[in-house]
Amino acid sequence: MSDRMKEELSPSQLNELRHCDGLETAQERSNVDGEVLLARVELMAELCDLSCPSLASAVMHRLRQSGLPVRAAFSSGPEVPGPMAQAVMGALGVGRGVGAVVADAIVAEAGAAPSLWAGLSSTVGGLDEGESGLDLKNALYAEAVDGSGPISWMRASRRFGVVGAVVGVGIAVAAALMLSIVGVDGPSLEGAMGPMLAAPVDIESLDVGSQNTVQVLQFGLDSPTIIFIASDIEVGK
């Protein structure tokens, strides 16, 4: 790997390359998230599972029929100023580039390849098929551009889970506190009266002795009964 390539690749891409080449250190290997590895395996399986017909011979036959004068282009290249590749391509007279010609040959032989994104998204899970293929593609692109941190499209549900867990813990703590207050007859609640029913009482017996008199006051059905022990005081309004 050249230094120029190192400059152009992001850290995550470098790690990917080292991982694929088996050059990563033990520490780097230990830092690889198991979930990411699993996603890689699934992606690889999905990509390898594509049934690709053997097109090489047919494509090369088409290219030969196109009559590209490759040898002549190389032999005449030095006489053309500029880089050799550009000179060769100029000599070939292929304005669109050889890649486009090869692509045309492949499409002509095998037809247009279907989009892989929908299948990939359904394989890795977490995204719906169909339109979400573009989201997955964009996520992969964003991850490749970012080059740092975890793979975002794999972490979305986990982040939600963490937030949900935190909120859940908060709710659980609040519920625990509330239950502990309500469920225990603590001294702090001793003075709380709660609802009171103001209603008459049924007097079964009443004795105030021979030296006292009593007045039973009832100011309404929604008022408490008042038993007044006295004879010389007019108490009721």
């Binding site: 889970g161 949900g164 867990a165 859940g168 813990v169 709710i171 659980a172 703590v173 519920a175 625990a176 239950l179 502990s180 469920g183 225990v184 001793e190 003075g191 009266m193 709660g194 609802p195 009171m196 029913l197 103001a198 209603a199 008459p200 009482v201 049924d202 007097i203 079964e204 017996s205 009443l206 004795d207 105030v208 002795g209 030296q211 006292n212 009593v214 006051l217 100011f219 008022s223 408490p224 009964t225 008042i226 038993i227 007044f228 022990i229 006295a230 005081i233 007019e234 108490v235 009721g236 309004k237």
Partner: protein, 152 residues
């Protein structure tokens, strides 16, 4: 989500344990009545009502007094057939005996005793979470009013 469930179970497990253990305590409470006795001084010396008496101020207002001071609040859980004596000012006391109770009413015997002997001996049926008042014993230029609450 599973993490949340596990943490919630861990946090709530002691309380759940209390809840499962609660029937014994609930049964114990169900056999008793919480009696509260307040001591209120009704006077014409002023025209203010103690803020703590706000829950019953409307009923105190039926008495021919302008001011009401809360002197004390006492309370006790009394088992059926049990009794408790609440000491009042002026060497007075109230002996409360819970005779019985059902889902609607509690039968309670209330005996008010002064320095010179019995002032009142009555048996009343109080509506659940209801109250009544005993008044009359003179004190500090006014009279004592004793709201008696039965809660269960």
């Amino acid at each position: 989500m599973s993490v949340f469930v596990i943490i919630a179970m861990l946090l709530l497990s002691p309380l759940v344990g209390q809840a499962y253990g609660a029937p014994d305590k609930a049964n114990q409470v169900a056999e008793s009545v919480k009696i509260k006795v307040w001591t209120v001084l009704a006077t014409n010396g002023h025209a203010t009502i103690d803020p703590d008496l706000k829950p019953i101020a409307k009923h105190l207002g039926n008495l021919k007094f302008s001011g009401f001071d809360l002197l004390s609040k006492q309370g006790a859980s009394i088992d059926v057939k049990g009794e408790n004596r609440f000491k009042l000012v002026g060497q007075r006391s109230v002996l409360v005996t819970v005779l019985s109770r059902d889902k609607d009413r509690a039968r309670v015997r209330v005996q008010v005793v002064g320095p010179k002997g019995k002032l009142l001996d009555t048996t009343v049926s109080i509506r659940r979470n209801g109250f009544f008042m005993v008044a009359g014993p003179p004190h500090a230029g006014g009279v004592l009013v004793l709201p008696i609450f039965a809660r269960y």
